[in-house]
Symmetry: C2
Subunit: 307 residues, 2 copies
């Protein structure tokens, strides 16, 4: 009965989101838990999410579990390292084996592990139907994932799409990567928070866009600077890779249409002086995913199909 | 006898270079003529080059002719437009049909037309043996071609690799494309000539590198600024696309090893402050093509295999 269902886990620093996914990316069940850090904490939280999903399916988990997780991933071994925000250090943590061990006796699931941005990019590919796309993730940092002509592009060193660390201003500040003037300093959740610190429980991006919509001139200026930075990222992807679609995701994308409107306006402003750039119609290719589907969990569940 | 041979023409603003290519990219015969501009001029020059090649082959041309030409190419129709330096304007010039017409009665050759940078990129793929590469062409302008996992990446709008028009300095000058601070203003033949104008018949790049090697401090500074710009281009390709190899070509690459040494030094200097960048080993992935093979003609001859 569950042969066509798959489980996806999107492991993040604050929560683990799990979903049972059917044909075409349909979400059959969802569950989430706050992440406990460290190898044992991650394992316990993941198991708890899987228990909740199993409970939603009369106790039987589908036999394929895909995991998206930050850090450096060894897909062959199902292991992860350097996921600093999860409390996972330089040693390889054999996540697939450890989780399989926990599940043994309950189900003989295959567990695969993938970098979280690659998983989300695959999810964006499934949800959008676009066969050729860049998924621009505006999270704490800035990076893109690529699906080119239907194939996930990881790159020779796993660095494809790492445009956040391309310097774009010799007079810019120092980046955490050690370079100066990186694009990430302009267009990322961190950049936005620095420009418009959170007040209370409202996320900084939501607060900034609300204040700008209300006409606060400082907020309008900060929003437009941020949107121009995101437009810089879209342009860099458009010129370097030229994907058919550029899909904006990540936490900042929860702002929704006002974000897309601001970025589109910035893209049109870029192109106003350049017929070359105008002909590429980057604004017309840039989009958000519809709704708030768990793109990372969907991609983690289905990306095994990609290999 | 000629069944395994192919003809490649590399049509440039100053000359048309033709070559008969055998298995693996081996050059069997070569010919060149100064380019006459305009549709009829290009056609006459191309025919003259083909006549020379035929003469080298006992009068019989191989039945496949591939052409690399600047401008916008409609591969289906074998037509070209907007090759400004060739005197070809906005109207489509049906180069394949016109050339086939000239050759009819002599050979029933298939003529295919490809953008010259794509042709050269395919030639670099053949000559280097690299299956995953960016070909960074330092010509009058700056652009890259991409072969990713063995497939030529053109992009959704034919713009993949157009990194020359990514702005990298808000305080930079105005680019011919209408934007400000484009990478092409730092790393291109034009940028080099502006920094070190030609004296006599020596190409500016050769003159600059010779003067720098002789210890002229102004030349050393100009060379190092140029090399830093090329390193910026390599880094952008490395972070956006992450190809296994980055091969530097174009007219400026005729400088040879001293160019590669300067660019490698600039790449190491970039990475000195950034463990992230150092781990990507961009200097170790950057290379020149060996010798002075006619990479554009070789690629034009063989790129038909790619489809």
């Amino acid at each position: 009965m569950n042969g066509e269902l798959r489980v996806g886990l999107d492991i993040g620093a604050t929560k683990i989101l799990g979903a049972v996914i059917g044909e075409g990316g349909a979400v059959v069940a969802e569950a989430r838990q706050d992440t406990r850090p460290g190898p044992d904490g991650v394992l316990e939280t993941a198991t708890a999410v899987l228990d909740l999903l199993a409970a939603a399916l009369d106790g039987v988990l589908p036999p394929h579990i895909g995991i998206g997780i930050p850090g450096i991933v060894d897909r062959q071994r199902g292991a992860v390292s350097h996921a600093v925000n999860l409390g996972l250090g330089g040693d390889w943590f054999p996540l697939a084996d450890r989780l399989s061990g926990r599940l043994s006796g309950r189900c003989g699931a295959t567990v695969i592990v993938e970098n979280d941005l690659n998983a989300a990019t695959w999810g964006a590919h499934v949800l959008s139907g676009a066969d050729d796309l860049a998924y621009l993730a505006l999270g704490t940092g800035l990076a893109a994932g690529l699906v080119l002509s239907g194939t996930l592009r990881r790159g020779a060193h796993g660095a494809a799409g790492e445009i956040g660390h391309v310097p774009v201003d010799p007079a810019g500040g120092t980046c955490s990567c050690g370079q100066r003037g990186c694009l990430e300093l302009l267009a990322s959740g961190s950049a936005l928070t620095a420009a418009w610190p959170a007040a209370g429980d409202v996320p900084p991006a939501a607060a900034l866009f609300a204040a700008a919509a209300a006409g606060d001139p400082r907020a309008v200026a900060a929003r437009d600077r941020f949107a121009a930075g995101v437009a810089d990222a879209v342009r860099m992807l458009g010129l370097a890779v030229d994907p058919a679609a550029i899909i904006i995701g990540g936490g900042v994308a929860h702002v929704g249409e006002p974000l897309l409107a601001a970025v589109s306006a910035a893209l049109r402003a870029q192109a106003a002086t350049s017929p070359f750039l105008a002909a590429l119609d980057l604004a017309g290719r840039t989009a958000l995913l519809p709704g708030r589907a768990p793109v990372g969990a969907i991609g983690a569940a289905l990306i095994g199909n990609a290999r």
